[in-house]
């Protein structure tokens, strides 16, 4: 099942490294634009441009507080991406759980897993 290739979905919005950076910063809590500019060391117009894209696809919400515009992450919108990656993640977890069993045997062979040998 391939994901929709529209230009205005969350997948495309997070494909841009700087937009991902913005989301990472916002994952730590809501921030005014000025803060994002300082933290990311990017020009204000560039940050604003990326924020606009993120807002259009609903990945961030904005509110006005006095003269400041405060942005926050809308985690719900990241769910389609999470859902897309999850089966791949599960496939690897199945492998790793089998590796756990192999490792328990290797440790037992070495005598209670002592690192000294």
């Amino acid at each position: 099942m391939a994901r929709a290739a529209t230009t205005a979905d969350a997948f495309n919005a997070v494909a841009e490294p700087r937009r991902r950076q913005i989301l990472e910063v916002l994952a730590g809590g809501e921030r005014p634009v000025g803060d994002l500019v300082t933290t990311l060391k990017l020009a204000q117009p560039l940050v604003s441009k990326h924020l606009r894209v993120l807002r259009e696809v609903g990945l961030v919400d904005v509110r006005d507080e006095g003269r400041q515009r405060i942005y926050r992450l809308n985690g719900r919108r990241l769910k389609p991406i999470h859902d897309w990656v999850k089966p791949f993640e599960r496939a690897w977890e199945e492998r790793f759980e089998r590796m756990d069993a192999v490792l328990e045997e290797l440790k037992a062979e070495e005598g209670d897993g002592s690192d000294g040998g």
Partner: protein, 165 residues
């Protein structure tokens, strides 16, 4: 199932457009995780996960050496990967190419996988970063998980159907 300290569940993130990062904690020292990861007889026991049986695991563990794994999926079809080792630091780090044999050989553009085995407490943190080259290849690799998952669901459905027959 007993959960042990140091063990975690696999975590997948997409650091850039073209990369896939997998991390997983193990309750065993790096040299054992490295051994399980690089020894053919041991790879045979884990690489297929719950999705089939490994029928071949060949590993020529030296720079320039090649590896090839083949599994027969539960649904009967064969899945094969191969690649070449580019960097080897025993118990610590591996860099290798990884080619899925179901698509035309990408030659020089093969995805490159960097695996590190880092000490984490009494255990190991394994990180596996795949540089896919393009977003299309990255997406295809992620999609393959979904396809395999769907195949499993179909298999289960078939089992149910047979049990009802």
């Amino acid at each position: 199932m007993v959960r042990m300290a140091g063990k975690g569940t696999a975590h997948v993130t997409l650091p850039t457009d073209t990369q896939i990062l997998i991390t997983r904690g193990f309750d065993a020292p790096p040299r054992l995780v490295y051994r399980a990861y690089t020894t053919p007889e041991l790879i045979e026991r884990w690489w297929s996960g719950e999705r089939g049986e490994v029928t071949k695991a060949e590993v020529d563990l030296r720079v320039g050496g090649t590896w090839r794994y083949v599994m027969v999926a539960n649904a009967g079809f064969e899945v094969a990967f191969h690649g070449e080792f580019r960097e080897i630091v025993p118990d610590e780090r591996l860099v290798n190419t990884e080619v899925f044999e179901g698509v035309p050989d990408p030659g020089e553009d093969a995805p490159v996988v960097t695996t590190t085995f880092a000490v984490a407490g009494r255990g190991t943190l394994l990180t596996q970063l795949t540089e896919c080259g393009t977003r299309e290849v990255r997406d295809m690799i992620i999609d393959s998980g979904m396809e395999a998952g769907m195949q499993e669901a179909m298999d289960r459905l078939e089992e149910v159907a047979i049990s009802l027959a």
